[in-house]
């Protein structure tokens, strides 16, 4: 091991973390730190908790299930269910672990349903990513988690085959499975540039979510991201996600460098995190 290089790398990483927290504290965010070890009680596991167990490290100790933190927003949602957080916005940093992956997350949460406040937080994070971490976002994807909840019935929404076909935008598979008159098939059959307007015009229930997507798309286009698109067929990872969901990518990356969105648990909130790996951190 070349200690001279390694020493500097470790110092740079710790400095970046300190700098992130300091920057957001200066912007008025309160700072939060939580244990990396999370404890679940067998008799109070929620459906979301159960679903998350398939991709995180867990082990049993007496009557509890212990796990290493796999996502900061999940940890904060659980914390807010249990304790009151007397603040409008927080920032945090720390590692998260899912199977075979270790990431560092720098993130923030805004406990407000005001869209301008949420978009201001998003811009704070985006500015930090570009100016301090020197990462250029080339693609931004906007989804709205209530769209599919309105287009699919409860059974369809839970059906693994439907979820798989949606994830792959497999139109002929969905047509065979759901029929060509199904609203999802009709919407996906439209040319991509027309889908938002088709959704708004043909399905009155979708007017609200579509207008929200357009509002967020305009906010992102102001940040000069080369490709901003709306993916109308994304499925929520957790049931507490209620509205807009955003993913930002740098060039040629499969995994998003920033993820986040609106959620409701127990009150409306918005959060985003920068996901850093060895390649970017």
């Amino acid at each position: 091991m070349l200690f001279e290089q390694n020493n500097q790398h470790i110092l740079d990483k710790k400095h970046q973390e300190w700098e992130f927290l300091h920057h957001f504290h200066h912007l008025g965010y309160d700072l939060l730190d939580l244990s990396i070890l999370e404890e679940f009680r067998w008799d109070s596991l929620s459906p979301d908790d159960l679903k998350s167990m398939t991709n995180r490290y867990t082990w049993q100790a007496n009557d509890s299930l212990l796990s290493i933190r796999s996502d900061w927003t999940d940890a904060i949602v659980r914390y807010r269910k249990k304790y009151k957080l007397k603040t409008d916005k927080i920032a945090y940093s720390g590692p998260v672990y899912s199977y075979n992956k270790e990431r560092m997350q720098f993130g923030m949460e805004t406990f407000s349903e005001d869209i301008d406040t949420q978009q201001k937080s998003m811009k704070d994070l985006l500015d930090y990513l570009q100016t301090h971490l020197k990462q250029t976002v080339s693609v931004a994807v906007i989804s709205h988690y209530s769209l599919l909840k309105k287009l699919l019935n409860k059974d369809e929404l839970q059906d693994p085959e439907v979820r798989h076909l949606l994830r792959e935008r497999n139109l002929d598979g969905l047509t065979k499975y759901l029929g060509d008159t199904h609203p999802v098939v009709q919407l996906m059959s439209q040319p991509v540039p027309d889908q938002l307007h088709f959704a708004r015009d043909q399905f009155p229930d979708l007017k609200g979510p579509v207008n929200e997507i357009i509002n967020w798309r305009n906010a992102l286009e102001e940040k000069n991201i080369p490709t901003v698109y709306s993916d109308l067929f994304s499925l929520p990872a957790q049931s507490y996600y209620k509205g807009i969901f955003l993913q930002f990518y740098t060039d040629q990356t499969v995994e998003p460098i920033v993820t986040g969105g609106q959620y409701s648990s127990p009150t409306k909130a918005f959060g985003m995190a920068i996901n850093l790996t060895d390649l970017t951190y």
Partner: protein, 202 residues
């Protein structure tokens, strides 16, 4: 410029024939001139010639915007790609093959572990799966396995090795896949290719 990852071998020949059938001669001529090159370029498209199982990898990583590979390959890989449309070639099917019919096949050799496990789960029968990379027929011929799960086109290879198709399963054909971002960032070019591919039989 669109980049398309293609499988080498039999599927490439089928694709060239398909291109000719829909009058996409600029592409078919470029691909027919290939000898050992792995990259072929025309004015509007660059083809990457790779192993069929690697097509989804090039597409997922964004090196290729589009890819053409068999639905059997996609079944075994859980990739972040868009699985856009059926293409009218590469027809074959999954089949369970053995020397003779049996009530159960507790040991099965295959390259298709995911498909085999899902099939036996669906019929509620336990199975031991032996993963092999090739020459799968041999496993049943020399009784290392009770049966094999493989893709079958004409059945000649099975018969040549003393095996018979016992259970015909899912149909397979070529699929057009796309990178998740390229689908949006190059949507007009991709849609134009889809429209041209859809001309078949029109």
């Amino acid at each position: 410029m669109i980049t398309i990852a293609l499988s080498k071998g039999r599927q490439l020949k089928d694709f060239i024939a398909f291109l000719k059938s829909i009058d996409m001669t600029q592409w078919s001529n470029a691909l027919e001139s290939v000898s050992r090159e792995l990259v072929v370029q025309t004015d509007s498209v660059r083809f990457l010639l790779v192993k069929g199982e690697d097509v989804p990898v090039y597409v997922e990583e964004g090196v290729a915007d589009l890819g053409i590979t068999g639905s059997d390959v996609l079944y075994e890989q859980n990739r972040h790609i868009n699985n856009l449309m059926d293409l009218p070639f590469g027809y074959c099917h999954f089949a369970l093959a053995a020397k003779e019919p049996k009530d159960a096949y507790p040991v099965v050799a295959t390259k298709y572990v995911q498909f085999t496990q899902n099939y036996f789960d669906s019929i509620m029968q336990p199975v031991k799966i032996i993963y092999l990379k090739g020459s799968v027929e041999l496993a049943a011929t020399i009784d290392m396995a009770d049966a094999i799960m493989d893709i079958v086109q004409t059945g000649t290879t099975l018969r040549d090795n003393g095996l018979e198709e016992q259970i015909r399963l899912d149909d397979i054909n070529a699929r057009l896949i796309s990178n998740k971002h390229a689908f949006f960032s190059k949507n007009s070019e991709i849609q134009s290719i889809i429209n041209q591919f859809n001309k078949v039989g029109a």
